[in-house]
Amino acid sequence: MATGTAVDVVMPQMGVSVSEGTITKWSKQVGDHIEADETLLEISTDKVDTEVPSPASGVISEILVSEGQTVDVGTVLARIGGEAGAAAAAPAEAAAPPEPAQAAAPEPATQAAAGESEAAATELAAPLAQPAQPVAQENGKSFVSPVVARIASEHGIDPAQVPGTGSGGRVTKKDIQAFIEAGGQQQAAPAQTVPTQAPAPQAPPQAAPQAPAPSREPQAPGSGETLEPMTAMRRGIADHMRRSLDTSAHVTSAIEVDMSKVVAIRQKLKKEYGAAYGVNPTYLSFIARATVETLRDYPWVNGEIRGDQIVSKSFVNLGFAVELTDGKGLIVPVVKNAETLNLLGMAKAIADVAKRARDKQLTPDDVTGGSFTITNPGGYGTFHGTPVISQPQAGILGTYAIVKRPWVITDDNGADAIAIRSIMNLTLTYDHRLVDGAYAGRFLRDLRERLQTWGEADY
């Protein structure tokens, strides 16, 4: 049968337990004509070697798998007829990455860029789960069975108010039914019912576990104390932080960077970018750009330990830590394939995730898959810190306030002088299981070099 549209030639399954086959010989080439049922290629499986007859008549438009290659059953091996379009399966695209959030103001809130504070606080993108534990019981065992919890919620009753006759003083179904019948008090229950909703998946930072089961034995506050339940996000952060410190060997190295060149270039570009693209080239975008370049030479800082293997990646999925409103927590949206972005692209990407984080439009995909993270603990003027690595990454870069300092500079004649320079601290917190001090030191050195020698032509 001649074909108008392309017909796929697939790897057949020669036997029920066979899952792959190897091409041993192509009998035809691209451009050749072939008749239906004529032998097109020969294959070898672990059960048998056989010829594969062509499923159609036509001209061979593509051959996708070459001799000697082994592929799974069902893989398209060639195409007959139709357009000779490349069946490029290449997935990797820097499709518009999720807009990076504004890392909470690398612009120093202090001196250098007064009034430049990008809105540091963003709201959590995903809805927070409501605190969902039952309130502490005060009589005997604090366990509330499912049916009692349901009846309690249906009637707005606090089970703690119901006398319990069950084992250990527990409130039984009969107890609460009797209580209701006797006209028991309705209370506006501060707590909600049985935790039925899990926290929204976007809520916790990357790889954070879901909220654990509600505590069985909360205690009453002491004098002068108030209690509030942990939000799902807070619990998620707590778990992740603990787990991260238990997993990685956290070591921090710091370096001072003279940002004067960047400051100057940024002044120039602000106007141009603002007018032409509506984008503000933040310090963060410069740092991010330089970081991505430097990671290329230090892949393990962008790497991962998986079991006994070291994973190196040809891409940089760059996470930016974002603080939430009122300091209730943080979220880390990820700019995927940041290595494909130039300065303008980076600035746009960061602005985009910031906006989407603010507008609560981050998706689960936006907060997963990161390979390296940049955070700014210095938004409020601090000059040093030791952030926690976001698992399963191997490093996290901390940026701090840019501060004008008196600085010793050496001129071309070798003479020393004191000048006022914009100095910024950078820290790299790294997992010493994978990255050694010297490696980290060289990374920071090269990063500093890039930032200090940023040329007007560098984008």
Binding site: P12, M14, T50
Partner: protein, 348 residues
């Protein structure tokens, strides 16, 4: 030392007539053998093109045994053919397009995609679908004969088994029950000499499997399975004997399995000379020669048959290809039967 009777080879046109076959019948037998082989050859190609999932089995070399026996069955007789017996389905009237649809797991196959390769049958044509466990259908065929005996109907059941499957208890228990009760069932043993890679001397210790019939109280016959008219003659004799109340017969049809156990098996363990020797006795070639020499089949007649078969198969393939894939939503339909399902030819 053999006990079973050795059947005579097929004879002249007159002998065929005496056996009840006129010239049209003889041509129909030829047509059925060609369709059988054509269906399996085309299926083999489809399988290697990746259009048929799972595994693919053929009965290449068994066309005469299958068509011969099926041609001797009466309209109301029933049978439990196996995977080398495509010829039985074709002879009883299963349409090739439905067989292709079955192979390809489509919604219009006889099992609507729920079972594959030859695990199919049309109950309206008196055939019961086989299972993988062999020869599990043998005692079931005996059960059919039991029903005929209880209702005193002049109908016969035909049970198929391979020579390997004859090693299982099902064969013994089924044949014993049939012999004890003198039930109207005929047992066909397709002895194609290889049970996957196991040769006959590792499957049974008697000279012929047909010799075992004596142990169950009935007769056994050994016949050349590549000689379709000899098979027909023996099958007809046994079926009519059963119909008349004479009890079972065990017919052993000797052939060679001309391909692997399934087509993913290249049968390296079968000596090449064996293939060469039996290729010379190809059942279709043999019969074609017989037709030309004894029934004066002319070129035009042969060409007409060949062309008819070719068109039948290519139309069948196209029609099967248009059949849709089964809908996953129907997966658990029909696990249980409803009273309406009992409206079959057998339940009237």
């Amino acid at each position: 030392m053999a006990i079973a009777r050795q059947a005579e080879p097929s004879g002249s046109l007159d002998e065929a007539r005496d056996a009840g076959l006129d010239r049209e019948d003889l041509f129909q037998i030829y047509r059925n053998m060609l369709v059988t082989r054509g269906v399996e050859e085309r299926g083999h190609i489809l399988y290697r093109q990746g259009k048929i999932p799972g595994s693919f089995y053929t009965g290449r070399g068994n066309e005469a045994a299958a068509v011969g026996v099926a041609s001797a069955m009466g309209n109301d007789d029933v049978g439990t053919p196996l995977h080398r017996d495509m010829g039985v389905h074709i002879t009883r009237g299963v349409e090739p397009w439905r067989i292709f649809a079955q192979y390809m797991g489509r919604a219009d196959g006889p099992t609507h995609g729920k079972d594959g390769n030859v695990h199919m049958a049309d109950a309206n044509l008196g055939l019961l679908a086989m299972v993988s466990h062999l020869p599990a259908m043998l005692p079931v065929a005996v059960g059919c004969a039991l029903a005929f005996r209880i209702r005193e109907e002049k109908r016969v059941a035909v049970a198929w088994s391979g020579e390997g499957a004859m090693a299982r208890g099902d064969a013994h228990e089924g044949m014993n029950f049939a012999g004890v009760r003198r039930l109207p069932v005929v047992f066909i043993c397709d002895n194609n000499q290889w049970a996957y890679s196991t040769p006959t001397h590792l499957e049974y210790a008697v000279e012929h499997l047909a010799d075992r019939a004596q142990a169950y109280g009935f007769d056994g016959v050994v016949v050349d399975g590549t000689d379709v008219l000899a098979v027909y003659r023996e099958a007809k004799r046994a079926i009519e004997k059963a119909r008349a109340g004479g009890g079972p017969t065990l017919i052993e049809c000797q052939t060679l399995r001309m391909e692997g156990h399934a087509v993913h098996d290249d049968a390296f363990y079968v000596p090449k000379e064996l293939f060469e020797r039996w290729a010379e006795r190809d059942p279709i070639e043999r019969y074609r020669t017989w037709l030309r020499e004894n029934a004066e089949m002319r070129d035009e007649e042969e060409e007409e048959i060949t062309a008819h078969v070719k068109k039948l198969l290519s139309d069948a393939l196209q029609r099967a290809d248009e059949s849709p894939q089964p809908d996953p939503a129907t997966l658990t339909d029909g696990v249980y039967a409803t009273p309406e399902d009992l409206d079959t030819p057998h339940h009237k």
